[in-house]
Every structure is written in C-alpha cells, then in structure tokens.
C-alpha cells in the first residue's frame, strides 16, 4: 500500500492561554496574540515563516486576513474549518504541498453574558427546534435516554464518566475547576438539568484561547520542537445539527466511519490507544463514543466505563486534562484543545499524577451524536 502522506506531517507546536469561567480585563485580540505567540514559540518558528493560516475568534470574528497582517506573513493557504476538522484540513494542505507551516489559533471571551438563558451557542434558532425549549443538553439527552431505554444503561455509568474526567481536572493546576474533586455520588446528587443529565453530567462554559502549528516532519527536524505525529483521522457527518431530531438509530454510531478510517490509516486498532482525549460535552457521549469507535460492542459502553477503566490509571484514560467538564470549554478553541491535550500528554507535559505512563498513542475527538457529527484524529509519539 502506498505510504499515507499524512504520516509526513506533524504537530510541532501547541499552546493554551489562560482559561477561566470569565476572563476579566482581557479581549479576544489579546487572547489570540497570546495564543499565536505561545504556539510559535513552542514550535520554534518565526511569524514570517508561516505560510498557511487558519485563525478565528468567536465574538469579534477576527479572521486569517487580519491576523496575517499582524504576523507580517503572506499565506499561500487559508483554512476554513475549526477544531480537529481544521487540523486535518491543514495536514492535508501540507501533505499536498499547498503549505509548509500552518498556524491555527482560536479564542473566545465575552460571548456568554445573558446568564438567565443557556449559552448562546447552545440555543438553536431553527423553527422546528427553538419553540420546544431545546438546547444542547436536551439534544444530547435525547440520544442518551434512548440508549438507556434500549440497553439498560444506568445513571451510575454516566456519573462514573463525569467523576473520572472531573477528578483529572481537580488536580490539573491549569484547569478552570482545579481543586474541585468530584465523585459519582456528587454527580448523581447535583440538580437535574435535562433528564438524565444532572448539572455535573454537563460540561462547563468558559473563556480562553489556544493554538496549534503543523509542518512537515522534514521541517520539524530543523526546529527546536517536540513533534507529535499524525497517525490518522477522519470526519463522520450527518447534516443539520440541532435542526433534525437526534434519532439514536440514525446517528447513534456517529464517528464509526471516521474511527475505522483513522485506525486503518495508522495500522492500529482501539486496543493500541493509550490516551482518550474524547469530546465530553455530556457524560453519556463518552459511553457512546467507546461503542461507536469499536472499543466495545454497541450497548456495552455503560459497563465498559466502570471498574476504573477510564480513570487516569485505567486502560483507557479519558480527558486527562479535565476536558470540557473541568479544564475548559471556550468557543471553538475547545475543539482544538482536544488535539492539544493529546499532544501535551504524549510529550509528558502534565503533572506526574496526570501522566499516563509510556503513552505512545492518543486519540482526540470532536462532536457527538446529539450534534450529528463526530470528527477524530489519532496522534503518536513516533512517526508511523
């Protein structure tokens, strides 16, 4: 089989700005500049060396054209996707020689101000959805409730997922919920938001920025950086999120196609994954992803996550920085941060208690069945 050109692309730089529930006295320009400077420094790349740009912000809508001016660079490639889809888009551009150094950055602050309503990005305005009081928690709950009815998945399994992720955030000094331990009992005792999701089954809202730089493996050899390699990736999409009813039988295995593609590209299987930086908007979604990606059979995810398996010292540790539940969930930067956490974990950048011993392969995901898409990528410490 021909060599996959994605394997000649690597992630050379990553950076997270400060994250907080609300970042006082900071604006999106400052956040983006911090994210870009930090990322370039981590990769050892000068701004004018960037020839591909995909940068955005949530509220001020800062875009690649403005940012190219700040960088003093003239890109020959611009990306349009965000999160993992953006990383894969950039990797494809590099693999096909359209660009050689791509800088991605994303930031959000000041977007969620009317706190009597759920966050603006959670509220679809579609005429067949909005009038029924839907928002993201309810959309994902409709997927979870069906699974629980069909397979008997228990609230205790959902609570274990949340507690495992939040326990990582509780000891991560960079996490928004640092110092806030959480047990499954805490999750089950928290107030109900949208049945079966209690408050602690749901991710937080927060503010912050992040950046990521990709280049060729060949170029990375000349840089003062710690490259992490791309083993595979893919998207799996089903159309209009938060418009169509989230019917489990149609969308419940979202991500399976992407996982199969990614595993095949990397020549590996689920059992080879050391770290699971999975998308964690709501607790049940992690159970579903283990099933969709083939870590266990459909309907068995609830049992799969028990017995410490997804804890930091388990076989498949989830969201090792605390994820969207306890680390941060800011704008669309949080989507990029799934890949960033995979990189930081493989580089051994977390505190010893959050470091997965001998981790070589990490899988990062975005989206979920409630949103009718799941994108993912697998990265490794060694070039495939």
């Amino acid at each position: 089989m021909a060599r996959n050109p994605l394997h000649d692309v690597c992630i050379a730089g990553v950076y997270n700005t400060q994250q907080a529930r609300v970042l006082e006295g900071v604006n999106e320009v400052e956040l983006l500049v911090d994210a870009m400077r930090g990322t370039l420094a981590d990769a050892g790349v000068a701004p004018h060396e960037v020839d591909g740009v995909n940068v955005r912000s949530a509220v001020w809508r800062i875009n690649a054209r403005e940012v190219s001016h700040w960088l003093g660079c003239s890109p020959k490639w611009n990306g349009g996707e965000f999160g993992i889809a953006g990383v894969l888009e950039a990797a494809g551009a590099i693999a096909t020689s359209q660009a050689s150094v791509v800088l991605m950055a994303d930031a959000q602050c000041g977007q969620y101000t009317e706190r009597a309503l759920t966050a603006p990005w959670t509220r679809p305005t579609n005429e067949f959805v909005e009038c029924w009081g839907l928002y993201t928690a309810a959309e994902f709950a409709l997927i979870a409730q069906r699974h629980m009815a069909v397979y008997g998945t228990r609230p205790e399994a959902l609570a274990e997922v949340s507690a495992a992720i939040r326990s990582n955030g509780a000891i991560n000094p960079d996490a928004v919920y640092y110092g806030r331990p959480c047990t499954p009992e805490d999750v089950l005792a928290s107030r109900m938001v949208a049945d079966p999701f209690h408050l602690l089954d749901c991710c937080m809202t927060s503010e912050g920025g992040a950046g990521l730089l990709l280049t060729t493996v060949e170029r990375a050899l000349d840089l003062d950086c710690e490259p992490i390699y791309i083993l595979g990736g893919g998207l799996d999409r089903f159309g209009m999120s938060y418009v169509m009813a989230p019917v489990y039988d149609k969308y419940g295995l979202a991500g399976r196609r992407a996982a199969q593609d990614a595993f095949e590209q990397g020549g590996i299987g689920p059992q080879d994954v050391d770290v699971c930086e999975f998308y964690d908007p709501f607790s049940f979604e992690l159970i579903r992803q283990f099933e969709a990606f083939g870590f266990c059979d459909e309907g068995e995810g609830g049992d799969f996550v028990m017995d410490g398996r997804v804890r930091i010292d388990g076989d498949f540790p989830l969201c090792t920085n605390g994820g969207l539940m306890a680390y941060s969930h800011a704008g669309t930067a949080q989507l990029l941060q799934k890949t960033i956490s995979a990189v930081l974990q493989l580089r051994g950048k977390y505190i010893p208690e959050l470091t997965v011993p001998n981790a070589k392969i990490a899988m990062a995901t975005n989206g979920g069945a409630g949103a009718l898409f799941t994108d993912l990528m697998i990265v490794g410490k060694e070039q495939p």
Binding site: T118, R123, N126, G133
Partner: protein, 136 residues
C-alpha cells in the same frame, strides 16, 4: 405539564409555511415523495431519500410513539416554565418530529408511550403541535 405560554415562535418561510398553515387548521402536514413514498421532515426542496423534486404535502394521522424524551429542569430561556418534556415522536408513517408532551406528569413519560397530536394556538399566525397520551 401544559403548553408553554411564552415561547420563541417559528417564522415560517416559503418552504415551511404549508406545515404551519396546516397546524393552524388542525392538520399535521408533512411532505411525502411521490416517487419513492418517503415521508420527509423537516421540509426540504427535494426528497432526502431519492432527491426527487416531486414532493407533495399530505395530512398525517397525528399518532405516534415517544421514541425518546428528556424532562428539562434548566430552561433554554427564563420564559419557559419547568419542567417541560421534550420528545422525539416516531409517527405512524415512520417520520420523526420534535415536540413537547403535555397532559401528563413527568414521571409518566416513557419511551414507547402512545401519543397523539394536540394543537395549541400560540398566536394568530402560529399554532404549535404538542403531543399528549393517546386517547387522553
């Protein structure tokens, strides 16, 4: 649980107006493809099963079963009275729609519950299709 008194109301467009006009007249209207027979919702310019443009609005039975549900305690916006029960209803004709369940208590909602449409005028223009236990 009862119909909401103050919800953000749909703003029908050329594609969706037949559905909302039907609701105002007490009919649950959906598009059916004349080529392959599939019922399609939400409204689309072509059949999502065979891409035919030969789509016809038809009245449906308004009967179905709760496919999934969630009882919401933290409302989307403060105008919503809690709890309210969001459901995906699987209609007799095989299509799915989102709605709210009324005329029952939260603990009575179950996957598989037989339900029927009940229309509630929300404004002069907009009537919303809620669902209640069948035969209630």
């Amino acid at each position: 649980m009862k119909p909401q008194r103050d919800t953000p109301l749909p703003r029908p467009n050329v594609l969706t107006r037949p559905h909302w006009d039907g609701c105002r007249e007490g009919k649950l209207m959906v598009q059916r493809c004349n080529d392959c027979g599939t019922h399609v919702f939400i409204p689309t310019p072509v059949c999502s099963s065979c891409m035919s443009s030969d789509m016809q609005w038809v009245e449906t039975s308004g009967k179905g079963r709760v496919y999934s549900f969630t009882t919401v305690w933290r409302p989307q916006r403060p105008e919503f009275e809690v709890p309210y029960s969001v459901a995906i209803v699987e209609m007799e004709e095989g299509w799915h729609m989102l709605s709210n369940l009324i005329d029952l208590e939260p603990e009575e909602v179950k996957v598989g519950l037989a339900v029927e449409v009940v229309f509630h005028a929300a404004s002069d223009e907009i009537t919303l299709p809620y669902f209640r236990p069948a035969g209630a």
